[in-house]
């Protein structure tokens, strides 16, 4: 089915190299995220205890640990989505580069959230068209002009390998895509606002093996330009793609290090047990 608005959506010139909007320039040196003695409690129950880690730039960091240990909560704290949990209290600090994420103004927060993208566990297409989904982030940051938005949509749909699949129906509701396509759309959507970090909370757990592999491969490809933090409960996935590993147990960071070192030569007793499958 060809969309009557097709002509309107397809970018006029597809050969120019893509240049992000000046509003969204990356800093010269990719920053790290530093979690500094961070505590988080929900209604008095302590969920994260004195977490101290550095999350390196341009690597895939996998956060592993048994279910309920606080992986998602830590990830949410990194872009302050944890604010919306009722009864949440935090102490300590988290910084992107030098900028504090925990103590920052409302206007800094929206900018920080732009710089830290999120790929959710289950795909969450916004209630708009495929085009609208990707343009949404740009629009809320004040980017205007159909031409510019078209270029961005085109570029990032290509990056996630979705362009050829959807180019004829950019105006259709995004919910009509398959789950795997939706997840790639979500990735493209967060890339469109030029983040430096990408957070992914079990981003492949709702997908079929093929789609799951596609997303994994994309992450590996993207780590040259982005720093990726993924929560995963499948150790095999972590083994496949992690450069750096954070092991959490009961809200505490037990072991941190290069993937090779943590997987092949874990220092801590609990890590050994977890890797051998004794705790899960």
């Amino acid at each position: 089915m060809r969309n009557p608005f097709l002509r309107w959506f397809i970018p006029a010139d597809t050969n120019e190299p893509f240049v992000p909007n000046a509003k969204f320039q990356h800093p010269a040196v990719a920053p790290e995220i530093t979690v500094d003695h961070f505590n988080l409690s929900i209604d008095g129950a302590q969920i994260l205890k004195d977490v101290c880690v550095k999350l390196p730039a341009n690597k895939i960091t996998c956060i592993i640990g048994p279910s309920g240990c606080g992986k998602s909560t830590l990830l949410k704290s990194l872009n302050r989505l944890s604010d919306s949990i009722e009864g949440v209290k935090t102490s300590g600090d988290i910084r992107l580069g030098d900028q504090s994420i925990v103590n920052c103004s409302e206007s800094d927060l929206v900018e920080l959230r732009r710089r830290i993208g999120l790929v959710p566990q289950r795909p969450t297409p916004l209630p708009m068209s495929i085009f609208g989904n990707i343009a949404y982030g740009c629009k809320i940051h004040g980017l205007k002009g159909r031409r510019q938005l078209k270029k961005i949509v085109h570029h990032y749909l290509k990056v996630v390998g979705l362009w050829d699949e959807v180019k004829d129906r950019l105006g259709n509701p995004a919910t009509r895509l398959s789950i795997g396509q939706q997840q790639r759309l979500c990735l493209a959507r967060s890339l469109a606002v030029e983040p430096e970090f990408i957070l992914a909370d079990e981003a492949t757990s709702a997908l079929d093996p093929v789609s799951s592999k596609t997303i994994e491969d994309l992450f590996v490809k993207l780590k040259k330009q982005y720093s990726i933090i993924m929560v995963t409960h499948t150790l095999r996935q972590a083994l496949r793609i992690a450069d750096y590993v954070v092991f959490i147990y009961m809200g505490e960071v037990i072991e941190v290090g290069d993937a090779k070192q943590v997987f092949e030569n874990p220092q801590h007793e609990l890590t050994k047990k977890y890797l051998s499958g004794a705790i899960s």
């Binding site: 872009n79 989505l81 919306s84 009722e86 409302e106 929206v110 900018e111 920080l112 959230r113 732009r114 830290i116 993208g117 999120l118 959710p120 566990q121 289950r122 969450t124 916004l126 209630p127 708009m128 949404y136 982030g137 809320i140 940051h141 509701p173 919910t175 979500c186 959507r189 967060s190 606002v193 957070l199």
Partner: protein, 296 residues
């Protein structure tokens, strides 16, 4: 034992189906009843004349229903125009901005407001809104207004449907998944941007259905409206004119002056118009809703 279960299952199924069909038939029977009762007036005047004539003099055998029809439409329109934006903003505040303590106090208050008998709204309108219009608002626009106006009826009605709309909207917005909000926030959107572009947009079919419900309620609201609308059989040309919606006509006059020829039939015909307006409105909105849902 097994047989008994099956028989029970079948019997209850049949009974429930019957009840449902009877309820449906009731609507049809009511429509037919109203039609039969208003047949005398339809025999004497053409349908077109009744609906388009604007003079109402039962003693002279002049029955024009246009003023009542227009009164109903105007009052309902004013009510929804006021109530819709206010209720949307309130619901957005409650679901997207307010602290949980605020919610805990506001939700019960809304339920109480929604369940107050309409006569109380009528009294309140007579005591507050009517004097306010005649003393404060109307002098800016017209020479004189007694305050019993289309506007007064619209305002009272809007206050009546407001809690209903707010609680429906709150329900709708709360059912939008937090993951969707997280997706929007994580791109750097503000609460307002998320509320408008994601939450209300996602709830659009529901918002539409809620408005239909509120309009149906407003179309039929009788007591509160007749207490403040002025009850003059004229087509309102400004907000400060009195009006006379259909339900008020029926409620005010039924049981009186029935000795007048055709008067009872005229009132029954008024009921028939109301019946059809509500029916038609509900059917069309259902069709539109179906379209919207399919689009999403």
């Amino acid at each position: 034992m097994n047989k008994l279960r099956i028989i029970k299952d079948r019997a209850t199924g049949a009974i429930m189906a019957t009840i449902t069909i009877v309820a449906l038939l009731l609507v049809i029977v009511m429509g037919i009843g109203l039609y039969l009762k208003s047949a005398p007036i339809l025999a004497e005047h053409s349908l077109w004349d009744l609906l388009t004539a604007s003079s109402w003099r039962p003693f002279k055998n002049e029955f024009g229903f246009l003023p009542f029809f227009m009164g109903t439409i105007w009052v309902t329109l004013i009510a929804i125009t006021i109530a819709l934006p206010l209720s949307l903003l309130t619901a957005i505040y409650l679901t997207e901005y307010a602290h949980r303590i605020v919610k805990r106090f506001v939700f019960p208050a809304l339920d109480i407001l929604a369940s107050l008998p309409s006569v109380i709204y009528g009294v309140w309108g007579t005591l507050i809104i009517v004097p306010w219009i005649s003393d404060t608002l109307a002098p800016h626009f017209v020479d004189f207004s007694a305050g019993y106006t289309t506007l007064a009826a619209g305002i009272v009605l809007s206050i009546m449907v407001l809690p209903l709309l707010v609680s429906l909207f709150v329900e709708l917005f709360s059912s939008v998944s937090d993951e969707l909000r997280a997706a929007s926030y994580s791109l750097g959107s503000t609460r307002w941007q998320t509320a408008i572009s994601v939450v209300t947009k996602k709830s659009l079919p529901g918002i539409f259905a809620a408005v239909v419900l509120a309009i149906s309620r407003a179309l039929g609201e009788t007591i509160a409206v007749l207490m403040v609308c002025g009850n003059l059989p004229q087509i309102p040309h400004s907000l400060f004119d009195a009006c006379y919606p259909l339900p008020a006509l029926i409620a005010n006059n039924y049981g009186e002056m029935l000795s007048l020829p055709l008067y009872e039939a005229a009132l029954m015909f008024a009921a028939l118009i109301l019946f059809f307006v509500v029916l038609l409105f509900n059917v069309t909105s259902r069709v539109i809703l179906y379209r919207i849902e399919k689009q999403q």
